[in-house]
């Protein structure tokens, strides 16, 4: 919403400066977006006298002008290309150093074809006053030389633009803004009263509202009157200037009057050329297949949800949104029908959205205009038409009726203190409400307040508190320390999952991984590759096709990000994300997953080539190490953890595994990405990843105290025995380790694999696995015989469980 300071002063008697006005607007909730100080912008431009204009010695089209700036300095030499530059004329001069908005340049002293030029005589285009760049501004003979041009031309009026929140339809008219400012103490409200214009005879065009009872709200009231014998043409300069200042294009007087009242009073109107209207008007639902060519020159297909104004020719106007081209007013209009109506805000919003029309009328009607000003708006428009275009008005006709919006709200003054902490005298609060147009009845601690007709947003006492608070000023509300609920040390507040999420991020970062935050939505094809693609998780209105489906996994986003980094010359990247994935559109379908992805040589130990070693590419064990490190950091006991070969379909089947405590307690997976997936994602490997669903991790067992288990230390030295087994290639090393450990649970404390060999020495389809078994005696030193016995048991157990033979 834009307005100028002088326009505001039509409604507000005030000496306030534009800065005062802007500060006050901000303070009372009408947020200032911009203040355009035109006087400052145009300050260097002065009215000047062209003392002489002579032919340039070296250029046919240029003239050398001597310009008297009226400031007591000798005439300034200016080279000018305008065809209308002539001796004796009055024009607008800008000295060197001036910024020229129409050209986006700052003038300098220059030499043009050998003649020095120390400024510029300006066209209206150069000042952005019009599109006219045919010649320099030609001012009347009596224009005061030396005076600022902007003040002379009336273009120095500061323009203020405010952002109006959706609840404040009343501030979409300058009169409403003035009322708020007056209530805030910035001046006295002086909006001229509207007086009824007597009509001569009934309006010859009637209006009917073709709605059944339940649709009646679509157009509660429609007022209309005819003015005959008008002369339409360009509107007066003051009116054009105001409209231009707020960014509107003057059309003709009749149209300009409707726009003027739209902004002056927040009351949109429409004018029909009466001679182009056939028969009477009917306000009705649009019919399927109906179209209308609107005033914006575009044709709109209508449907029955929309409300139109029609005559015998068909649709003439889209009610409350935009008039039709056919019955629009132009210079030939002699008889005009003026419409002032009420429309349903919801329906206007829906129609406007469907048709994609943004108009000043829609903007106001969808927020709700003052119903009580429907008829006065028509009177005001009639008066302006008579004043500016002449003619004779008929009486007004009103279809429907003006809704009665009066309501009384019980308002305990104490509510202001309860909700804001502000302690104000009752009289102050009452005065504020009354200044805003509220009626206050009663004298006790609880009064009855009737909101004015223009404040449909006021529903209850909290709204009244806001009115009092915003006019008092939020800066006057004292800040009050917020007490703790208990006078105690702050208690921990994070849930287990929140703690694990935080810890997961720090742990993975400490492993050299860099945290990424990638989009929650990915492309459909990618979603399908990673177990997603459920149509319920596909956005109806995605912003781009590659951001269409809620992600089922974090891997695709990270894989593509890794590739992008590689394309930028960073092939060895280690990324992680701890974030949400979606299995369904229900809250339970959303889980938190920790996922890390390594590419190239980005291993935890180090990245890239190094002087003392090779640049080893990442493999499945890097992903496994990340996953296991995270489980350990999160305090998940890994004793019962099963590492089941093979993972979800996006992993290499022979180089991946599922992490689980059982088939129904799957935690996640790790592995090398499947070559087919790499191809489909158009990314290059090697890429390894792990995924762990943090929601799926078991909670720690509740313990009564924080005591750690008792430490039992043995007085006897542990000893280690090595065994090399030959087994079938398919046997999992973990089976051997497990069986060895099971041979004597009391003595065996650790089993490690220190060598794996496949090759001619062990035969086709076989492999050798060498393990080191640590034995920890607890009550005495083992004898050789006892050690032999345990060793034999280990060999026997491993052989029994895995078919292994001790390597000879």
């Amino acid at each position: 919403m834009k307005f100028t300071l002088s326009w505001l002063k039509d409604h507000l008697d005030t000496d306030a400066t534009v800065q005062d006005v802007a500060d006050t607007l901000n303070r009372i909730g009408l947020e200032v977006e911009a203040v355009e100080d035109k006087a400052a912008l145009f300050a260097p431009y002065v009215i000047a006298h062209v003392v002489s204009a002579e032919q340039h010695p070296n250029a046919d089209r240029l003239r050398v002008c001597m310009v008297d700036t009226g400031r007591g300095e000798p005439p300034v030499q200016v080279v000018c290309g305008a065809p209308n530059a002539r001796t004796g004329m009055k024009s607008v001069f800008a000295p060197a150093g001036t910024y020229i908005p129409g050209k986006g340049i700052t003038l300098t002293v220059g030499t043009i074809r050998g003649v020095e030029s120390r400024g510029m005589l300006c066209s209206a285009f150069e000042l952005e006053l019009s599109d006219d760049h045919e010649g320099i501004i030609d001012l009347p003979e009596d224009a005061p030389v030396g005076q600022p041009f902007a003040a002379y031309a009336g273009i120095d009026d500061p323009v203020i633009e405010i952002a109006v929140t959706p609840n404040r339809a009343d501030a979409l008219g300058i009169a409403g803004i003035a009322r708020d400012l007056a209530a805030a103490g910035l001046g006295r409200l002086k909006t001229p009263a509207v007086t009824a214009v007597p009509g001569n005879g009934p309006c010859p065009v009637s209006v009917s509202l073709a709605f059944t009872g339940e649709d009646a709200h679509l157009c509660p009231a429609f007022a209309l009157r005819l003015v005959r014998g008008v002369k339409n043409g360009p509107s007066p300069a003051w009116l054009q200037r105001r409209l231009k200042a707020i960014g509107l294009r003057p059309i003709n007087t009749l149209v300009d009057i409707t726009n003027y009242i739209t902004f002056d009073r927040g009351r949109p109107l429409h004018v029909f050329d009466a001679k182009k209207v056939a028969g009477n008007l009917v306000v009705r639902h649009a019919r399927d297949g109906e179209e209308v060519l609107a005033l914006d020159g575009r044709s709109y297909a209508l449907d029955p949800s929309m409300v139109v104004i029609a005559d015998d020719n068909g649709v003439e106007s889209i009610g409350g949104i935009m008039g039709g081209e056919h019955s629009g007013c132009d210079e030939t209009t002699t008889d005009v029908l003026i419409e002032s109506a009420l429309w349903d805000p919801l329906n206007i919003a829906q129609t406007g959205r469907k048709l994609g029309i943004v108009s000043d009328a829609r903007y106001r009607f969808e927020r709700g205009v003052d119903p009580a000003f429907c008829e006065p708006g028509l009177e005001l428009a009639t008066q302006m038409v008579l004043d500016l275009c002449g003619g004779e008005a008929s009486e007004a006709t009103l279809a429907g009726s003006i809704p009665d919006t009066r309501r009384a709200l019980a308002f305990p003054y104490a509510e202001v203190k309860r909700l804001t902490g502000l302690d104000l005298p009752a009289g102050t609060m009452r005065g504020t409400l009354e200044a805003l147009g509220f009626l206050v009845a009663g004298t006790g601690e609880v009064v009855e307040v009737m909101p004015p007709s223009w404040r449909a947003d006021i529903e209850g006492k909290a709204d009244l508190v806001e009115e009092v608070m915003r006019i008092t000023g939020l800066d006057n509300v004292p800040a009050v320390p917020f007490p703790r609920l208990e006078a105690a040390v702050a208690k921990p507040v994070l849930t287990l999952l929140q703690k694990r999420t935080r810890l997961a991020k720090r742990t993975l970062a400490a492993r050299g991984l860099v945290e990424a935050v990638t989009w929650s939505f990915i492309g459909k094809a990618e979603a399908e590759l990673f177990g997603g693609g459920d149509p319920r998780l596909a956005l109806a209105n995605p912003i781009a096709s590659e951001l269409s489906d809620m992600r089922p996994s974090l891997v695709p986003g990270l894989a593509k990000a890794a590739q992008k980094n590689a394309d930028r010359g960073h092939p060895d990247v280690a990324l992680f994300e701890v974030g949400q994935v979606f299995a369904s559109d229900e809250p339970e379908g959303q889980t938190i997953v920790a996922c890390a992805l390594r590419r190239g040589t980005a291993r935890a130990e180090g990245v890239g080539r190094r002087w003392d070693g090779e640049a080893k590419p990442v493999d499945v064990f890097d992903a496994k190490a990340d996953a296991m490190a995270l489980l350990t950091a999160l305090g998940i006991p890994t004793g019962g953890l099963q590492i089941v070969p093979g993972g979800p379909s996006w992993y290499h089947p022979g180089r991946s595994a599922t992490l689980q405590f059982g088939p129904r307690a799957v935690l996640g997976a790790f592995g090398e990405l499947h070559p087919r997936i790499l191809k489909a994602l158009d990314v290059k490997g090697p890429l390894v990843a792990f995924e762990l669903t943090l929601d799926a991790l078991p909670a720690p067992k509740a313990k009564p105290t924080k005591m750690k288990p008792k430490l039992a230390l043995s007085d006897f030295q542990p000893l280690t025995r090595d065994f090399a087994f030959v087994v079938d290639r398919e046997v999992a090393a973990a089976e051997i380790v497990k069986s060895a450990g099971a041979a004597d649970r009391n003595l065996v404390t650790e089993v490690t694999v220190f060598d794996v060999y496949e090759g001619p020495h062990v035969g086709e389809g076989k492999k050798s696995i060498a393990i080191a078994v640590t034995l920890q005696p607890t009550d005495k030193t083992l004898t050789d015989a006892e050690i032999e016995a345990v060793s034999a048991k280990i060999v026997e157990q491993v052989a029994k469980k895995t078919g292994a033979a001790l390597r000879g």
Partner: protein, 360 residues
């Protein structure tokens, strides 16, 4: 009888001439071994008369001691030389560079860091962290928050929709974290003190908007908290978060469907050469919206607005991260460019605490 001084000269000369420990050992054996020349002399002492012994004893023993000492001295010198040679041989180029270790390379994203900072501040004030789903129903995202159907305020949200279900109802990607206010109020009894950080979505994408962004919401519900408390919390938060002693804030009345009265809050700052400094300057920067929870919202959650009251506020996590740490643009937050992440990210153990300071 061997001439003792001659023998001594010979032996001392041999010791000095021993080039290594083996040669020195040979000299020692030749002199002090079982059959060594000095040992032989010592053996003669037994057969001497006491007078002879009194005369010869000191001479022979003196010889033995001096030879011993010479050998020890020579041995130390040889060991010293050998050690020096070994050290010279073992020398490495310690200027060879290391590979960067994992804790040097790893980074925490600024959004995670800022959430940890927010958590540290608000946990101290007794706020817990509430969370909710990204995919919301129309009820939680709009209706319960007092957005009337078709209201222009809904339009302002640029909502992402999911396909309609059997009943024609469309779920949405939450356009703000406020639906979690509703879930919290429906799920627990006052007093309520929560902050709600999370991902939010709007179908809007340009220089300063991304279709996904992060908000943090605060909610307090009890029987006495008012705008004055809200102002205090926000001022204290801004000082703690931006780590400055003073902030100046400007509260402007505004409108949100779910609060009444409502306000927007600007923070005073100075912009100097691409830097923003708080607590000084002439510029105002909008950082959050807030207000008293609307009576309709309280009613929608089964709370009597005449008995319960409270306030809520919301702000952009990405935005306050940009303000504090100086990222000029929003879009790179979500592009996973390691150059950006390494530069603007935080080290793994940069844990924000109130005791140690939020940032180092």
């Amino acid at each position: 009888m061997t001439d003792i001084p001659t023998l001594e000269r010979t032996l001392i000369g041999a010791v000095a001439a021993a080039a290594d420990e083996a040669a020195l050992e040979a000299v020692r054996v030749s002199a002090l071994g079982k059959k060594g020349s000095v040992s032989e002399l010592l053996k003669t002492l037994g057969a001497m008369t006491p007078d002879e012994r009194r005369e010869k004893g000191p001479l022979i023993n003196g010889l033995r001691d001096r030879v011993n000492a010479a050998i020890a001295e020579r041995k130390a010198a040889l060991e010293e030389t050998a050690l020096a040679a070994r050290l010279a041989a073992e020398r490495v180029d310690v200027t060879l560079p290391l590979q960067e270790g994992p804790q040097t390379r790893g980074r925490i994203h600024p959004i995670s860091q800022v959430i940890d900072e927010l958590t540290a501040i608000f946990a101290d004030m007794g706020f817990s962290i509430a969370e909710g789903p990204d995919i919301e129903t129309d009820f939680y995202n709009f209706t319960a928050l007092n957005f009337p159907a078709g209201h222009p305020a809904r339009d302002m949200h640029d909502t992402f929709f999911l396909p309609p279900d059997d009943k024609g109802e469309r779920k949405v990607l939450r356009t703000h974290t406020s639906p979690v206010q509703i879930r919290t109020m429906l799920g627990q009894k006052p007093p309520i003190r929560v902050i709600i950080p999370g991902r939010t979505y709007r179908c809007d994408s340009d220089q300063t908007h991304t279709p996904m962004f992060h908000q943090v919401e605060g909610l307090v519900i009890d029987k006495s908290s008012h705008i004055g408390h809200l102002k205090w919390i926000l001022e204290e938060f801004c000082k703690a978060f931006f780590e400055v002693d003073q902030v100046k804030m400007r509260f402007r009345p505004s409108f949100f469907p779910f609060t009444e009265p409502s306000a927007e809050v600007d923070i005073q700052c100075a912009r100097k050469g691409g830097e923003i400094r708080f607590g000084e300057g002439e510029d105002w920067l909008e950082i959050l919206g807030c207000g008293m929870v609307h009576p309709n919202v309280l009613r929608n959650c089964g709370l009597d607005p005449d008995e319960y009251q409270g306030f809520a506020w919301g702000m952009g996590i990405d935005r306050i991260a940009m303000l504090k740490y100086g990222m000029p643009d929003l879009r790179p937050f979500f592009e996973a460019d390691v150059r950006w992440l390494s530069h603007y990210g935080f080290r793994p153990l940069d844990l924000p605490t109130l005791a140690g300071g939020l940032s180092s």
